[in-house]
């Protein structure tokens, strides 16, 4: 049985989407200009994009770059962040470097990267990698720094070596914070993916969008925005579900019913 309140809170995001589309629809009807199609027109243009083989290959290529860039960034950033959090030496070595890179918009590095690596997959994946790395490093760093010293001592007394303490105490203890960083990183991966394709126009979801814009196919432009937006919402929701499973033990509102089997 789902209670009324649970039903409302679960359907809230859907209602928010419908509300936005409604406002869009009304706004477009009132303004009535070519460059602002109605929501219905945009939605009607989605099947033709998703049905087109060329477009699908482009979108899948985007997703592949995003997946590779994101995975590599996570694989490098989590160990680096954790080591920074536990070792003052490592932190003071990398901190200044990261402080300089942090405020620079990663897309602004795109021209230089293109100069070095060309306009292909490598350059775009690298930009995604950079975009994802920083929040993941930062949150892993914070998470590792906050691990209670006494927890590590308890592990040491049980006979865990320094490496084991890192893998089996610092990592799980920092996991909620790490995953918060990964969630931000995932959204940033999508953003940097689209911007990289906007600058290096060769393939990808961003390329479809800006080509349509150049050709004045506004239905397709808005349809593409909906598709990219839906990808973002879908990825984020899926990640949240995974995160919830992994760190159920840390959720503030988490309680198991007080009964034993």
């Amino acid at each position: 049985m789902i209670s009324m309140r649970a039903l409302v809170s679960r359907s809230a995001p859907l209602l928010a989407c419908l509300g936005l589309l409604g406002i869009w629809q009304i706004g477009a009807l009132i303004l009535n200009t070519d460059s602002f199609p109605t929501a219905l027109d945009a939605i009607r243009a989605i099947p033709s994009i998703l049905g087109d083989k060329e477009s699908l290959i482009n979108i899948l290529a985007s997703l592949r770059r995003m997946a590779i860039g994101f995975s590599l960034a996570v694989a490098v950033s989590i160990p680096l962040g954790l080591m920074m959090g536990r070792s003052r030496g490592v932190a003071s070595f990398f901190n200044p470097l990261l402080m300089v890179i942090y405020p620079v918009p990663k897309a602004a590095l795109m021209p230089i990267i293109m100069l070095w690596l060309g306009v292909g997959d490598l350059a775009k994946t690298l930009v995604i990698f950079l975009g994802v790395s920083l929040p993941v490093i930062y949150h892993s760093f914070q998470g590792a720094k906050a691990v209670e010293e006494k927890m590590l001592w308890s592990g040491a007394a049980m006979g865990l070596s320094a490496t084991q303490r890192m893998m089996r105490i610092v990592l799980p203890a920092a996991l909620p914070e790490i995953l918060t960083g990964c969630r931000t990183g995932l959204v940033l991966a999508l953003i940097t993916m689209v911007t990289s394709e906007m600058i290096a126009r060769q393939s990808g979801a961003g390329n479809i969008l800006f080509n349509a814009l150049d050709m004045g196919q506004y239905d397709a432009v808005y349809a593409m925005i909906i598709i990219i937006g839906a990808m973002g919402i879908g990825l984020d929701a899926a990640f949240e579900k995974l995160r919830g499973k992994l760190v159920r033990w840390s959720e503030p509102g988490f309680d198991i019913p007080l009964s034993f089997a």
Binding site: M151, A157, G159, S250
Partner: protein, 258 residues
């Protein structure tokens, strides 16, 4: 046997000044003794415990366990901290099993032993709970079971009941004594409560504040097993409490002098 041999500890404060936390402490702890270290906060009593645990290296002097210098933590010395320091991502059972599993005990055997220990500390039925879902007293029971699970020869208890309310504290003191009286492990118990120290211990080491020095070692000659209700009425117990309280008052006054 644990020997603490002229141990001193100097900390650097944030103002880059040297602060002498412990000054030339020498102390011998016999096997099977329940020894409390009692002193005002900031007297370095916890630091002394951390040195025996191998978590902190003394600036000068040496601590020895069975004649061998202590250079780091090890499963022969099991800590129980005021902050519990449980692994929040592990269930109660997972926490208690952690040590034996690390020591290479087979899963089934570790689980059976851990379940028995959880029952012994009074938490039967809570095996699958996460630390977050437990009260402070229950968390400390888990922490005690987790440490007992890997059979340390010495229990290092760092104000273990300091964060608990009076009622819970009393119950845990009773339960700790019951558990201790079964196997008489060596216990090093840090506290700032005089009653707690007298109630539990064979020996109470009274320390002065800053720099921490041993002011006096009091043998508590009260019969065991100790029952709280009887002890509270026992004039010997009362005299120990009053005498030790007076010693601590003296140390506080020392400090007020210029």
């Amino acid at each position: 046997m644990i020997e603490i041999d002229r141990v001193s500890q100097v900390f650097q404060t944030s103002g880059r000044q040297n602060h002498l936390a412990l000054s030339e402490i020498s102390l011998t702890i016999e096997d099977g003794a329940f020894l409390s270290i009692l002193g005002p906060s900031g007297c370095g009593k916890s630091t002394l415990l951390y040195i025996v645990g191998g978590f902190v290296s003394p600036t000068e002097g040496v601590a020895r366990m069975k004649g061998k210098a202590i250079t780091g933590p090890g499963p022969d010395r099991g800590p129980v901290f005021q902050e519990f320091a449980l692994f929040p991502w592990k269930s109660v059972l997972g926490n208690v099993m952690y040590g034996p599993r690390q020591q290479g005990v087979k899963h089934a055997q570790a689980e059976a032993q851990s379940r028995a220990l959880i029952e012994m500390v009074g938490l039967k039925g809570f095996e699958n709970f996460y630390p977050k879902e437990l009260s402070g007293g229950m968390k400390q029971r888990v922490a005690l079971a987790r440490t007992l699970a890997y059979h340390p020869a010495v229990l290092l208890m760092d104000e273990p009941f300091g964060a608990l309310d009076a009622h819970t504290r009393t119950r845990l003191q009773n339960d700790l004594l019951n558990i201790w009286e079964r196997d008489r492990k060596t216990v090093l118990f840090v506290t700032h409560s005089v009653e707690e120290a007298v109630f539990l211990s064979d020996k109470v080491v009274v320390m002065t504040r800053s720099p921490g020095r041993i002011k006096e070692i009091v043998d508590i000659d009260l019969p065991r097993p100790r029952r709280r209700a009887e002890l509270l009425l026992d004039p010997h117990y009362q005299k120990y409490v009053v005498d030790i309280e007076r010693m601590i008052d003296d140390t506080s006054e020392d400090e007020l002098r210029p």
